[in-house]
Symmetry: C2
Subunit: 359 residues, 2 copies
């Protein structure tokens, strides 16, 4: 088999090898069923078992309270950007948005179609290189929305925001869900595209408190009402069965590897090493403010675009893939989600050190 290389892709991203091997072995026959995992009816016993196991693992691993629904939807975080205000932001009401990056900004723009939006904080002044340490909320927002990790800019909330008492906190956790313990009960909704920490692209995990399911608008197309999916256990229409199966395997892997506490410790160690190297480097510098650095996406630059390009090219040749930074930041970005091995971070640090030494 071809040797696997270090994949620093921001998403879709590296998956645990054991997960890929298990999926591979079930592609022509799921267990002894004689039917591959892709080919099972979503209404059949074999897939229902997969579905139930995935949901149960999600609840166990994520510590999801019983009064929250676990939904497996389609359309990515981008669909949640509009579904949330469409369901909860009635005309005349105000929703608060913490604008800490490009995706937070897109979420805010979709909300503006439906009602008043108050920007409770905004870090666009420094190209989103930091997460504001405080926010100024409106008088009575219907919810407060934030993006826990900003994939593009390499920043992350180190502690979750504190909205006014009684106001629902809604989190786009696409790029750091289950990378550390998360207090679901402090949120009304937590949602995440799966393609970074949970599995493949094509499924969106939505954790939503029962009361919000009920409160959502009723005059919407069936597919755009959370209650439709809650009532039908995500099977109102044919769900993305393989993506749900894969998410189940990833959740099992998280559990086997110590759960969210262990994930958090390992991710802190991985990112910590890389930031420590960058701190002492004469050539490479992290772009994010110290108090806002992401453990998932480590962004850094040399300060010279040509040298950045030379580094990326050399890294690709040496088997480090996906390090080119997003065009909004330039430079480099190492995405090191849960499944990215610590050995790959060590190898990258060695490579960075050697590249610097040769100059």
């Amino acid at each position: 088999m071809t040797k696997r290389i270090w994949n620093f892709s921001a998403g879709p991203a590296v998956l645990p090898e054991s997960v890929l091997e298990e999926a591979r072995d079930n592609l022509l026959s799921l267990g002894s069923t004689g039917i591959g995992i892709l080919e099972h009816s979503h209404r059949g016993k074999a897939f229902l078992k997969v579905y139930e196991e995935t949901e149960a693992l999600c609840r166990e691993v994520g510590g999801i309270p019983a009064n929250y629904k676990v939904l497996f939807l389609q359309g990515g975080a981008s669909s949640q950007f509009f579904m949330i205000p469409m369901n909860f932001l009635t005309t005349g009401a105000t929703a608060d948005y913490l604008v800490t990056g490009a995706w937070a900004e897109k979420a805010k723009e979709e909300a503006e179609r439906f009602g008043n939006v108050h920007v409770a904080c905004n870090s666009a002044d420094k190209n989103y290189s930091y997460v504001p340490q405080s926010a100024s909320y409106s008088a009575a927002p219907v919810y407060v929305h934030y993006t826990s990790n900003n994939t593009i800019f390499g920043t992350q909330f180190h502690k979750q925001p504190t909205p006014p008492a009684g106001v629902d906190l809604i989190c786009d956790a696409s790029s750091d869900i289950f990378s550390r313990p998360i207090d679901i009960a402090k949120h009304g909704i937590v949602y995440a595209g799966a393609q970074k920490n949970l599995g493949p692209s094509g499924v969106t995990l939505v954790l939503i408190r029962d009361e919000l399911v009920e409160r959502g608008a009723k005059n919407l197309p069936a597919m755009l009402q959370y209650r439709t999916h809650a009532k039908n256990e995500s099977m109102y229409n044919t769900p993305p069965t393989f993506a749900i199966y894969l998410m189940g395997l990833v959740l099992k892997w998280i559990k086997q590897n110590g759960g969210l506490t262990a994930m958090g410790e390992r991710n802190a160690r991985k990112a910590g090493k890389l930031y420590a190297f960058l701190e002492q480097s004469r050539m490479f510098k992290p772009t994010a403010a110290v108090d806002s650095r992401s453990q998932m996406n480590v962004t850094f630059v040399t300060g010279n675009a040509d040298l950045d390009a030379e580094f990326c090219s050399a890294a690709t040749k040496a088997g480090f893939d996906g390090l080119k930074g997003h065009r909004s930041v330039g430079g480099m970005r190492a995405s090191i989600y849960n499944a990215f091995p610590e050995a790959g971070v060590d190898a990258l640090i060695d490579f960075l050190r050697e590249f610097e030494a040769k100059k």
Copy 2:
């Protein structure tokens, strides 16, 4: 490896073995890239090549004119049910629906949220066991919507409807797309969930004429405007990369097996054999009217619910899976899409004959 059994599932459904084998071999490394197909960034060269090949194969196999966009969306046909009227059925205007089954009815119900709906024909009077041979259109519909194959009731349009001159025909082809040649140019939009004839669940193919892309409503969330997906080549948000890859493999398999003409001939032969057996059987009877029979889903009953159940149970034990009919029809349903082998139809006929002989 576990022996594969005959999978008559209505969808997700059987896929060609060669497709599953190729996917399996690329799960840990796509070709020599060292990164599995699930793990490649949708912005990277490797996946862009997959995407371009899939789109090109789709255009070639389906004979899709250059003035149509090929979009790979999420949310299933159920999302198209509302996106179409949301984009094209303005208040005061009328859309015509041919109501020939449960899915057609759901599509119609979603349209009623947005404007006037005229039912141009309806076969609910006989539990959708036939496709009306004529329709009565309204004066100036903005479009005419039909469901080319009715999965639940085992009926299919044997020729496409003829809307009033200049009116766009819109087709939900989820359960028979690319099972026979289709004249895309006679349609404004053809859409299909992939999980029957095209690949796994989790991706929806939408073929849409450029002029409709432009005409769609502009005051909608970005994800609900066709122009967003057309402009961004289905990558406004992260697409379901693996499902698109699989669809590409299935399209390659269709091409290698003679394209849509050959598919149509083979499907006619497969369904023809099964209907011929049912016609002469004293025990089993087809439920669909002769002029409306589906080549994809063959529905039949004994007329005795207990005997139906006994048959289904015996069939499952003998390695024929997924034959239980939908609760709306009862009895049995053999879904025999493109990838269902002719040998499996022969085996089913033998089994039916033996079961009947023993009684």
